[in-house]
Amino acid sequence: MKGSVLVVGAGPAGMRASSELVNQGFKVFLVEKKPTIGGKMAQIDKMFPSNECSSCTIMPRMVEIASNPNISIIAFAEVESISGEPGDFKVKVLKKPRYVNPMKCNACTDCFGVCPVGGVPMEFNLGRGASKAISFYSPFPPRKALIHPDKCNYLINGKCGDQEQPPCVRACKPEAIAFSQKPEVVELQVGAVILATGADEVKTELLERYGYGKLPNVLTALEYERLLSGLGPTGGVVKRHDGREPQSVAWHVLDSASPIGIMTAVTEALGTVEKNPHVSVWVLCEDVNVSRESYNDFYCKAQEKNIAVIQTDSVTTAAGADGTIDISYRKGGKKEQLPDIGMFVLVPPLAASAGMQTLAEKIDVKLHPWGFFEKKSKNTHPIHTSREGIFVCGSALEPKGIDDAVVQACAAASHAAALLGEARGTETATPPEKVFLPITSEDEPSIAALICRCGPNIAGLLNIDELAEYTASLPYVNQVQLAPFGCDGVKIREMLSTKKFNRVLIGGCSPKTHEDVFAMHTQGGGVNRYLMETVNLRNHCTWVHSTDKKKTTEKAKTLMRMGAGRVALQEPLEDIQVAVTPAALVIGGTPSGIACALKLVQAGLRVYLAAKENDLGSLKENQSKFVQRFIDELQKSEKAGIFTGAQLGSVQGFVGNFKAEVITTNRKEIIEIGSIVIATGENLKSASHEGDYEKDLFLQRNDKNFFVGMLGNLNPLDFNTAGVFRCGPARMEMGVLDTIMDGEGAAARVAGIISKTKLVKAPIISVVVDENCDGCAYCLEPCPAHALTLIEYMLQDGRIKKTVEVNEALCLGCGNCMATCPKNAIYVQNFKPEQIMKMVHSIAEVA
């Protein structure tokens, strides 16, 4: 049995499956046919229904994956064959030549400038924009140059320029150019395979009928995404073929059966008016299929922004004057005409990605007639393909939104883990011990500052050179660098490699999404991550003040000054290691809860299931064969503790170590678990009056009584409370197969915690200054985590004094205690009063 998994396709689903598996102790080989990872998510501007910036969201995840020693990315490669059996597959992967050695290429781009061949259409930008014959495929990892063999003078003619060596070879200091590279076959041994090959726009003659390929300003939705994207060929400014900005844009949804088409069109229309409110937009579709609540909410909000959605029976187009498109449509037998349309965006149906037929033949997996992977039989789980041990997820199964693809990827990871549970941890390597420079809080600060351009997200909305010059003038700032994307780590590591700095100040994206990535690069450069400060120039400045460049620059200066002031006072801290209780509690005997519990026991993990029903067998009534089979298997498992007729009392603790009161007719039991899954829409505590686990765990419900989860498309199963997850009816209404996959997806999230022996916790916690504490206990009540205990101690003269003890594992670092203390006797590490005051004074100094 092998403890490794092959994941084919590195879009959001493949990346997520890889993360979940590696988090559970499995080695992953991630094969991607394109030269960089990210899939379609890297190409689109914003995601529905959250309207998040897609590349900003996925970039940190890509960097994490590319930096994980237990994930081997094999990019620009395709699977050639898979032989063997579940648990022990032999895989052959064909790597295409880049003509650049990725191990040597340092992404310096010196070769790009000297390459004489320009005008090479950029595949990533779907033909828009041009590059040199040596270029990056996309801005995303692995950020390594690539030579286009059909454009490169040297590869075509054996000569480039008038010297013996071509210019790129002479320019490349790390000697990475490798013209002798040939296709290479890599052989792997893995226990399971996950196919996450995605879907593509279908470009049939149907598109031609609407002018695609004939009229210059008719394009597809994905092509339009590249124009909307700040990382696209026009820097996020939508431009027509002639370079002018359109005054009106219309979308035509060609597949109304799935919500994907209408949601894509509405998201793009919204993105268009958000960038330029003067553009008129129309969305034409046969039907509006937005039954899912979150989709419908998004759709309604978009309509409030003057996005006109017109249901039509038919649409016809013709060339208009000056590159415009004449669009008429029929509605209820009446013919109507749109005003002159500057750009016309077709939203085609999605089909199995190109090459899936070939892949299916090579690996002996059957396809549906419409091209997607087929399951073994009617009674087979949708994630199982026709070949045992090979699973499928995301849009390779059928087109879907990114949030659904993420859930399925988690579920597929659960299936692979269930198959390979006994081999967990056998092929993963422990990361090497981090080596830090010997920095103490007494050393004079020396700050390396990095300001991210972030495409047009930051650099396009303020005067970045002025900001850099100002930042360089701040106390203790000894160097300032500008970077296209600081999150790629190139500039941070370059600055820290000089060993001249003991603090890092980053002006870039939100720490919420990017801090861990910046911290990873900071630590990679030998500086403790708690000596780094991230200034949120994007969300706190440029995005919210995008109309006045001068004032935006002034605010950015203030923010950078505050950051520099704070980071100078930061101290190196050590992460806290917390032991994990290797068990989980699933609340709710729903199909989702049962599927979650079963996947955990199949993966060799301990689980408790609390169901309100008095007899688990009664759950079988009116359930699908899947669920009936799941219940039978769960009841037989020694790893499962099942509480029927159960109510839940209070729950205390924190990720890795919770204590939950489970009350049944006969007994009240306190169980210890490392993670919790809510798989019910009902509140199990209602009859017990013994506690309120929802309040204890800081959970909230929306007006439809569903639990509110963490924001963002990449976190559909997570709550904001670490270690607690939601699935199935706790999340939204869904069909039985979806609810099962939701539960299985939650199992992967849980397994990522309870399969570990220890968790790392950030040391951003409260510390008591005992000399100042008089034991008044004002801080105890406001502590939401119950992390503070009042203790007393004896002095040798017989007096008794009081002070406060902090439970490091429980403390959330919220600072409530600090705000309450009248004696300056408690503070949150790296948020000391003097640090906060320094930031406040910085505002006054700039003003």
């Binding site: 008591v768 005992d770 000399e771 034991g775 206990a777 105890l780 205990t789 009042l790 203790i791 007393e792 101690y793 004896m794 002095l795 040798q796 004094k801 009081k802 002070t803 003890e805 902090v806």
Partner: protein, 61 residues
Amino acid sequence: MPSLAVKIDGKKFMWDQGLYASEAEAKEKMARYEKEGFQVSCLNEEGKYLIYTRRVVAEIN
């Protein structure tokens, strides 16, 4: 100056601010503290004995 607070088996103990010359002297004092319901612990630092105590306050007024 010895630390005012130390962690022993994950629990915070506080120094009684005395420096005891002998183990016997420290033990005698510790017995007195224990009688009062305190948990006690003794550390030897540079030849001196230090006593640390703690007691959780059950009722907060």
